[in-house]
Amino acid sequence: MTDWLIDLTLVVALLVTGAATLLSRDLFRAVVMFIAFGLLMSLGWVRLHAPDIALAEAAIGAGLSGVLLLDAARHLGEVRRPSQRGEGEESD
């Protein structure tokens, strides 16, 4: 019973962070949500009896892709979205 509760919570958390990655307005927040998602995935691999994948996911999801994507988000910040007319003007 406790097992089911843990797994259910984890799955719900995975889906919520995944949805938050896609839905959040702020790019920085989306990336942070994605990192949280990666860490939860790592927990999920432990629950699936796959410690190898959990190790790799923790190193990659938290360490590498976090740094990479945060850096990219800072540089590609949403200044020039053409659909928002107020902000789009600075590019022409």
């Binding site: 190898d52 190790l55 790799a56 190193a59 990659i60 590498l64 990479l68 850096d71």
Partner: protein, 232 residues
Amino acid sequence: MGRLTLVTAGMVFSGVFAGLAWAVWTIAEAPVPVSLPTLVSENLQAAGVEHPVTAVLLNFRSYDTLLEIAVLVIAGIAGISMSRTRSLEDPGLRTSDSLLYALERWFFPVMMLFAGYLLWAGSDRPGGAFQAGSVLAATAVLMRLGGVPMDFLRPGVMLRLGLTVGFSVFLVVALASALDGDVFLQYPEVITKPLIVLIETGLTLSIAMVLLALFVAAPIDPAEELEEGGAE
């Protein structure tokens, strides 16, 4: 994004969800013809390593791993050739934070030790080349962010060697066994374990190098970027 497109895409992917869920349910109900876990554990004696995942990666399905490291090397080369910096080891692109620098003088040996342990542990418990490679890459990225000079990232022998060592070691072993009269990628029985450890060491170095090179290749000179990015 138009509302119509949004609704259409939503409907399409609801359909995808339903179809996939149905497929997963059907497959789960169907009986399995071959049980892979028993097959692996029956043949584990011949694999040379005791950990099943490592055995699958580097013995039973080593062809996949060979192609995988080839893909990584190609991605690394593509990333480097795309980068706009004059050299990957450009001092101007290093951040220098004294706190980070001090911190990583403590971190760096521990992380290296951890990567080495993971590599060594791979033969009989969870661990192996991939985890060690990613930990090593994360360490190197941290060093880079802390402003440690990394001369081996300059274009030259070290960079090329680092990128390709895993793939070449793997390929040499595979070809050697093929030339010896065996099947391509069939390790000789006596030295299976040393060969696997050798390949894993090469893989660790190469994976770390590819990931580090891709990370380092990402930034474009910030001043230049602002200048050209504004002029559309």
